[in-house]
Symmetry: C2
Subunit: 493 residues, 2 copies
């Protein structure tokens, strides 16, 4: 066997272990009885260690070096590039630091749950401070040239820097803060009719029909229920969506559309790359661009609902009598609120901005962790015009920092920005998207995304992909123009 | 770390890999979209190899030898005994033979599916002949003192021999063949009202309620749907049942009761042994005794249905108007038929007997594989009074031989025999089982089985366990007396 073949075989072992972890995680969030939790944690811990050991074993690196000389096809070369990046990320951190972080995460997560429940930030502050210290050490190990944040952000979004994020947020802030302010002076939209006791089976059927209609392939995937919707998978032939059923009927609808966006991206990877590191999404930001594209640009558009509102009303007779215009305004209601995960399309980035700025300030020592609540509240007042009454609905709301996911948040906004940027490129080739959506014809749209984005897997870097697809680097202009036009029309600005 | 601790840690790794395989298998049979099949086969193959390599690596054997001197508690000693047996079974077969069998199984399974579909036994005969030759080689490697069959049967039922099986079947044959013949001369029972288009959700709810009422713990398990019902699990806290919904309403009811019997046995292992080789059922025969006990002795009894028939009729109004006696006769209808998996309680063992005798004859060279169809048909005529019109519903009906599971069949009948033997012991301590069942009070019954059988896990050998629980070795007398009494009453013999 050549070194390349040996490397492939080793990667297949790692892939099988990771597939096992993914299916165990899917099961845990969908069907597992509560009595299964302890054993599941033990099994996951062991498989996670095996996967890490198999991948980071010095053999992998040695095979990689030898395989470089053997790689002939572009596919092989792309594979080796991706493996090198993954191996770098997995090996640059000293084992002691990885273990300390793992242990601290378990403690910090527990402290965070407790602190959030009892609104006791000082209880959480010491572990959070230690977590930021670990993030600083991680950044030093991973390496960076300009800003310490670059090293952390790169883990989630290859090649993205704090400067990229700063430039993006400056543009977003300049346009979105006044837009939200203008809307808050307008009369409030009534979306009360979207809340009710909706039949769960009807919601499940309707959302399945919806995501099938846009192109999610149920021969190669399924949709189940989970408290916090997610998309996962372990083969291009087996991608799992989840959704949830809440009094707000939009929870299921937009949850399903969002996860189906992730899912169609995953289903679109070439089968020849299945079970290799070349398969799947290229970065968190690009992945999120696809979930947001299908959720917001398609799923919250008027043409989409001109086709689907009658079906929704047939499934839920209580919604009959609300016309398209009323419905469209209701699902696009803008209202500054405290909780990021419940935010509307327009205010969402402002939530992310707060977190990005605070992360940077803590990492660089400008802000002490103990002063986080005041800084948080001040930024909410400035950007969203509201102030949390407690830290539980303020700086304690997100799980990310307790797990040490520092540098992660900007990828949400990058996803929003890229969704419109990619959509505008698509519209240059397919100008009649509105007609297609109104006719329920999604093949041309999905086909374009498939050809330009999904079929690329991890073949290019995220920056190369964005450039190739849209002709320019990430640029908030399309996003801001799109949002401004949409919401100016809705709110008559 | 002591050698014992190192051994435990290695066993925990094997356990995690096997848990991953089990959950992948569960998912494959319940929820997996068909597009997931190829990747699932690859992942299973890799994890299976890893599990086998980790367990059979020479380190395991070396640690086992060293650990013997360190074992102090009875638990530790039992653990080492069980590990030694498993390691023997896993290492006595040369890798070349294991690999040849694995490859042949894949081919043979395909040939079998094809041959069964086209009723073409000669197409299957050559691979089946090779499979029996491999079984002979396996038996020689595993070792035996009296009969070549002993080595094969022992894999599934530790310590059981061909002589044990022969003695059991002789007793069964002597009593059951005339009993079935006598019944076949009586008027046929009408069970047509048990066939219909039953609502699937109602069946799911009803069977869940039924298995909950006998003691299956849904905090530590669940029930889903599968084409071929099975029970699996990967922790005492996470045991999964499956059932199926067919025109015959008994398919779901008795399928659920059967799998719940397996499931309660698994849930009953001590939590302290969770994720170790001491957990779970002691042998296939003893396991089957529990599925059959709950399915047949409880589930097909008159007292059980005196409590549950009104509930069944409330759930399925088409069944209203049939009284307890009619219902009880219908679910205990005896009718010689061609297909083992559809056989009633009484004729089931005769199907197994045919297979046992033919396996022995082929292994010892008394019967040539090419003559199997004639031999099969002759035995069906002799024992069941019917003759298959095609090999598809004759000697091609079972999957077992195509997978190389030769020596497996007798455990089904051992399960039947042991179910009554254990039940009779239980009745000595709890004489009022009929009253308890009529009252829906299963705690005393489950509690007894829990204390005497389930809590023992694999601590004793199957023969030791049977002796300890019933005071004697396996003995068909209880079973035959029970069956004769039950069916004499039903058929007025």
């Amino acid at each position: 066997m050549s070194s390349l073949e040996q490397l492939r075989s080793r990667l297949a072992d790692v892939n099988a272990l990771n597939a096992a972890r993914a299916i165990m995680d899917w099961d845990q969030q969908t069907y597992m009885p509560k009595g299964g939790a302890d054993a599941r944690a033990e099994h996951q811990g062991i498989l996670s260690r095996m996967s890490h050991e198999t991948f980071t074993d010095s053999t992998t690196g040695a095979l990689l070096e030898k395989a470089v000389g053997e790689a002939e096809s572009d596919d092989d070369k792309a594979l080796l590039r991706v493996v090198r990046r993954d191996l770098d990320l997995a090996t640059k951190l000293p084992t002691a630091l990885v273990e300390e972080k793992s242990k601290l995460s378990a403690v910090a997560h527990e402290k965070w749950v407790e602190a959030r429940a009892t609104n006791d930030f000082p209880e959480f502050a010491p572990v959070l401070e230690r977590m930021f210290e670990i993030a600083r050490q991680e950044a030093e190990c991973l390496g960076y040239t300009e800003h310490i944040y670059d090293a952390l952000l790169d883990q989630y979004e290859e090649g993205a820097t704090a400067a990229d994020a700063r430039a993006m947020f400056d543009a977003l802030k300049g346009s979105q803060v006044p837009l939200v302010k203008a809307i808050s002076e307008k009369p409030e939209t009534d979306d009360g009719f979207l809340y009710g006791e909706w039949d769960v089976v009807a919601q499940s059927k309707f959302t399945e029909g919806l995501v099938r209609s846009i192109g999610f392939d149920f021969n190669r995937g399924r949709q189940d229920t989970a408290p916090h919707p997610f998309c996962t998978g372990w083969s291009v032939g087996d991608i799992r969506l989840t959704t949830r059923y809440k009094p707000y009927i939009g929870s299921a609808i937009f949850g399903s559309m969002h996860e189906a966006g992730h899912g169609m991206y995953e289903q679109g990877s070439p089968a020849k790359w299945d079970r290799t590191p070349l398969v799947g999404g290229v970065s968190l930001g690009v992945h999120e661009s696809q979930s947001r594209l299908w959720e917001n640009i398609v799923g919250r558009s008027r043409p989409f609902w001109s086709a689907n509102l009658p079906k929704l009303q047939a499934a839920f007779p209580a919604l009959a009598g609300y016309d398209l215009d009323t419905f469209y305004r209701a699902i696009n209601k803008v209202e500054p609120s405290l909780i990021r995960v419940e935010a509307d399309e327009l205010t969402y980035n402002l939530h992310v901005l707060v977190r990005f700025e605070l992360e940077c300030d803590i990492l660089t020592g400008k802000l002490a962790v103990r002063d986080l609540p005041d800084a948080w509240n001040a930024k909410y007042a400035e950007y969203l015009g509201i102030t949390p009454e407690t830290d539980s609905v303020g700086c304690l709301q997100d799980v990310h920092w307790s797990m040490g996911s520092i540098g992660y948040f900007p990828t949400y906004s990058m996803g929003n920005v890229l969704s419109y940027q990619i959509w505008n490129s698509l519209q240059k080739d397919i100008p009649n998207t509105a007609d297609l959506m109104a006719q329920g014809e999604f093949e041309p749209i999905l086909g374009w995304l498939q050809a330009k984005v999904y079929s690329k897997g991890r073949y290019l870097t995220p920056k190369e992909l964005v450039k190739q697809v849209t002709g320019k680097p990430m640029d908030p202009a399309d996003y801001l123009a799109g949002l401004t036009a949409k919401y100016s029309a809705i709110y008559d600005l």
